[in-house]
């Protein structure tokens, strides 16, 4: 089937996203291109199409971090330590159109701020019942959901005393590789948000709002868990109605 390349995406606003060079976040200094990007004026199927993960086989607990990692040792096996939360939201495009069946992936530290990663050596202990990875497809109306524990803040070497606010890394594909996005969800009201050098890579305070999960009492479950809503907005898709024939 020929792919539809009779479309385009709303141009990505590079002043809205963080710039490559953002010296307050020191690692960007040597990892930011100094040359201008080459803009592709005529997008092709190479940019307009993208993978569809409807057939990717997932396990029953891939989106449930309370259950998807358990201690080998039966004596330790149980639920992870931490505040139980549901993190959910809708994937929509910039025109508000839901993005169904798209892959949403996430990873996070445990309640103590420690990642289950070979290279994380923070003092806080690993939780034998917490892996910290989740994935799911958005449903027919663009909704996705995870059940997890609220991650802890953690220190990192940037300034002498830099701390990351509690956050969940969130990755979304959207309908095309042009809409591909990785972001971080922060928790509404966290006093570490305005102190974070990575948050500060964004110049517009409204952009920070787009990364803030909101407490949603209506979806919280009494005697069980709180809920945070985090909608993901990906680039809007436009049809090309008029061909430029010169």
């Amino acid at each position: 089937m020929p792919l539809n390349d009779n479309k385009r995406f709303v141009e990505r606003d590079r002043n809205w996203h963080p710039p490559a060079y953002a010296p307050g976040y020191k690692t960007t200094v040597a990892r930011s291109p100094s040359q201008a990007y080459v803009s592709l004026q005529t997008p092709s199927v190479s940019e307009l199409a993208g993978p569809d993960f409807t057939r990717l086989r997932m396990g029953p607990h891939d989106n449930d971090l309370l259950l998807n990692f358990r201690a080998d040792n039966e004596a330790q096996a149980g639920l992870p330590i931490g505040e139980r939360v549901i993190v959910f939201g809708r994937v929509v495009d910039q025109f508000g159109k839901p993005v169904p069946n798209t892959l949403v992936e996430m990873w996070q530290a445990n309640a103590g701020g420690r990642y289950r990663h070979k290279k994380d050596g923070y003092l806080a202990p690993l939780d034998p019942n917490f892996g910290g990875v989740g994935r799911c497809l958005s449903d027919d109306e663009g909704w996705y959901r995870f059940r997890t524990i609220k991650p802890g803040p953690y220190p990192w070497p940037n300034n002498i005393n830099s701390w990351r606010p509690a956050h969940i890394h969130v990755s979304v594909m959207g309908p095309s590789i042009s809409t591909r996005l990785i972001t971080q969800m922060y928790f509404e009201g966290d006093p570490l948000i305005p102190l974070c050098p990575i948050v500060h890579t964004l110049r517009d305070p409204e952009a920070v709002e787009t990364m803030t999960g909101r407490l949603d009492m209506a979806r919280s479950r009494s005697m069980d868990c709180l809920a945070y809503r985090f909608d993901l907005v990906v680039r809007g898709e436009l049809q090309t109605y008029f061909e430029n024939q010169g």
Binding site: L3, D5, R12, D13, R14, H17, P19, Y25, T28, V29, A30, R31, S32, P33, S34, Q35, Y37, V38, S39, L40, Q41, T42, S44, V45, A49, G50, P51, D52, T54, L56, R57, M58, G59, V92, D93, Q94, F95, W107, Y115, R116, H117, K119, D120, G131, G132, V133, H169, S171, R180, I182, T183, I198, T201, L202, T210, M211, V233, V234, R235, G236
Partner: protein
Amino acid sequence: MQQPNSQPSAALMLRETASQTAGPYVHIGLALDIAGLPPREEEIWNRLASPQADGEAIELVGRVIDGNGDLVRDALLEAWQADAHGNYQCEFDLQAAFNSFGRTATTAESDGEWCFHTIKPGQVARRDGRLMAPHVTLAVFARGINIQLHTRLYFEDEAEANAACPVLNAVESPARRQTLIAKREESEGKVRYRFDIRLQGEGETVFFDF
């Protein structure tokens, strides 16, 4: 309700969720094996083609190098390429002989190198009818990269197609075009194309906005 054309244009459209770095622990989420996590039922990884796939079996390998000349050892790459006939296989299916999408990391198979096992892609036409030379679109994510960088890998032994490719020619500097050409190597009967990505400074790889 206000008429749409009485509103400032920004109000007509939502803003895209802002990007943030994938960070040093991206592997936990997108490359579990590298983080030391057990695999799930199916994982998206660096084998795009099985031996049954049409086309020439190749490996794509390279390093990611920062502005100080040091290896970036915590990068995650995503590849997107056509099959040998120039068609994208959008439906990701690990049972299929070929998938257009894959992931790798700079610690994947040997020290500080990334690797994809794939086939050489065919030429892809743009909607204006012009043929693009065989290429693989690569996205680079890492700690210190605030939003992914997009580049394209082209093939050294496609000189004629490369010379006519409208995207390569959109790069004004002929010297900079060379940063997009992978070098062919053959050893032990394997065909390998080497493509180092230089993030900054001398020999800086061309990155695209699209």
